[in-house]
Symmetry: C2
DNA sequence: CTGTTAGCGCTTTCAT
DNA sequence: ATGAAAGCGCTAACAG
């Protein structure tokens, strides 16, 4: 798109969508002296007033009377550089007073590394994504990487390879792919670019980082089993979501090994989805006594349907959520949940992606800790046989 | 940080935090022929196999036998370029078959525009941020910009100027600042860099985009007034949050103009906060009959406290949330809310920032639409005078 | 101990 | 109708 076209479009747009309120025009800023070093951590006052262009390597070279390469070496702490103590100090000084910031663009162009990742997330609404996001953002920040978040539009979920262009255009060094669907048909397009699947297993193996869903289901089954429950239902998202798939398998396995019955119900991961599926079960009669619910959105629907039908929790059925959220403690009946290591998952994904970008041959990562049951009021002893 | 140091750190880290499961090693990808043009929209098959470096302008120039500058002009659709139809087609062809992608880094370096924004968001948990985020991401994507999200750590909220470095290092063209606090002490550091305050008024004026909080409060007050309520309380976040400040002012004004009483209660924007403040009111006796609650997290606490105290909703008190979320429809008593134009706010913020980056002298933007009351069951006629 | 040189991939003015 | 050349800000191999 040409700049001109873009300018026009944004202008209309603002006019269409919003009402505008005119306030006083901009006043120019005032000046002041020194500043600090480099990187995200810098604080304090600014270097110089106005919209003066940023200081470059050559500016500080000129100021000190040395060559830019010398400045570069000093600022990058080149180990095999020997330099007169005095020049070194003058360089550092000039950098500081000019408020020098390395131009990340130029660096990236030269080093062939952008220092950024793209994080593709299916839909931002579920709170699990925000915790995951936070873990990833934080670790990336610690390591000096930037993360750009891309939201996958729910409807027409693009194949992961659709994000390859971000790397090809040198906007990112690699891709964090949290697209939920387990399209096991190998997507060749994404292969050519460093990437890691987050919270789902990828088709390629060796580059996915996932949580211990089986362990989570185990926690749930153990908990209700210890209270005498013998029949379990797992209400979860669509079967082609990888985490769902793994929880389902685990539920079957855990229940079988204890001789418990395990029903599985798939529904959209929304309030509506949870509501509908529960209504249907209610209508069909004979409810399992222990419900595991895959997403918090579904949980609201499940709870509403149970309430609506006059099925007391935990009197008649016990309920456990696989998404933990603080609000669960404040519901009509506080809901027991399994707290998953989401932030750790995000951090581990960043670490894994960095290894990949650096060319390491990596193995899949399984994040198990910290994971624990958060006992609240929604689980009770199994009701006597009906 | 040196690459070596970084590598080591990430390696430990992965080992510490996670358990690792080895899976089969990587298999090499297979090749295939043609591809498409440029930009985020590209689909289809990939250009060439393996990890071949991306095609550059010069590659296609060589292939066609012209100069890179010609190729550049063609690909950028330079209007004042005249070229033989045939060469043009050969260039386009070569670009396509090579799967050419412009290197965003080099472009940015040359044009002095990165095509990216940084969006600073206070804390990702509240669902309002995700809707806002989505609006911004989407508009930015439409306009060919990338957005990187930075989360503001709650505790030590940095001044907005702390993010200036992102622009100074040429990582972004401008800043979208959704930091909630209305530190009206002018932050000079941020001034030097294109920025827009989102969902809060900035100290400088002319560069903030906000929603019509007063209108939202008006919707609430009108609604309960029409049902006979005469006493209102607004339970909201800390007073130094800008949106809170505006809602408070509006509540006072609206109630005064109708001769209604307006109480204001500030509390942390958490479930706990809502719970505590409501408990305190309950203990003090004589409740207002209409509650407006500033955040959904607080809402859970408020509802819990009311339930706990045996104060029926809407029998004794009516409740309205200023955060809309689908889950509200599925609560024990479905909660009436005011739906705010959050996605539109995000989009408008992006538009405003683009104008700023392009040097326009902008006015503050007030996003009013679409905003509406979502009537559910938590509001009823005022209880008779006690 | 420090300067020179050669680019990274792209845009753009100025010459043909 | 197209090419040459300069240069964005930085790094790194190679000279002195």
């Amino acid at each position: 798109m040409s700049p001109a076209k873009r300018r026009m479009r944004t202008a209309d747009r603002a006019a269409q969508v919003t009402s505008t309120e005119v306030t006083e025009p901009e006043t120019p800023p005032a000046g002041a002296p020194p500043a600090k070093l480099t990187g995200p951590a810098a604080t304090g006052t600014r270097p110089a007033a106005g919209s003066r262009r940023a200081s470059r390597l050559v500016d500080i070279a000129d100021a000190v009377g040395v060559h830019v390469s010398t400045v570069s070496r000093v600022l990058n702490g080149d180990p095999r550089l020997s330099i007169r103590q005095e020049t070194l100090e003058r360089i550092l000084d000039a950098a500081r007073t000019q408020g020098y910031r390395p131009n990340a663009l130029a660096q990236a162009l030269k080093r062939d590394r952008t220092g950024a990742f793209a994080f593709v997330i299916p839909l931002l609404r579920n709170p699990i994504w925000v915790r995951l996001q936070r873990g990833a953002l934080q670790r990336a920040a610690e390591l000096g990487y930037a993360v750009m978040i891309m939201e996958e539009p729910t409807e027409a979920a693009k194949p992961p390879g659709a994000y390859r262009y971000l790397v090809e255009e040198s906007r990112a060094d690699g891709l964090l792919l949290a697209t939920a669907l387990r399209t096991n048909k190998d997507d060749p397009a994404v292969r050519e670019v460093p990437h890691v699947y987050v919270n789902r297993r990828g088709p390629e193996r060796g580059n996915d980082v996932v949580m211990d869903e089986a362990g989570a289901v185990g926690l749930f089954v153990d908990h209700v089993a210890s209270l005498g429950h013998r029949s379990v239902v797992l209400i979860d998202g669509p079967r082609d979501v990888d985490t769902v798939h793994r929880r389902v398998a685990a539920a079957r396995r855990h229940c079988a090994s204890r001789g418990m019955s395990a029903a599985i119900r798939h529904a959209p991961a929304t309030e509506e989805g949870g509501w509908d599926v529960t209504r249907r079960m209610l209508r069909a009669g004979k409810l399992p006594t222990a419900f595991g619910v895959g997403s918090i959105n579904q949980l609201f629907g499940v709870l509403a349907a149970l309430r609506d039908a006059g099925a007391p929790v935990p009197g008649e059925v016990s309920v456990v959520s696989f998404d933990e959220d603080e609000c669960l403690a404040f519901l009509e009946v506080p809901v027991t949940s399994v707290s998953m290591p989401l932030a750790e998952l995000g951090a581990a994904a960043v670490d894994a992606l960095i290894s990949r970008v650096e060319g390491a041959r990596t193995a899949g990562v399984l994040v198990r800790e910290p994971m624990f049951l958060v006992p609240r009021a929604s689980v009770g002893p199994a009701a006597g046989p009906r």
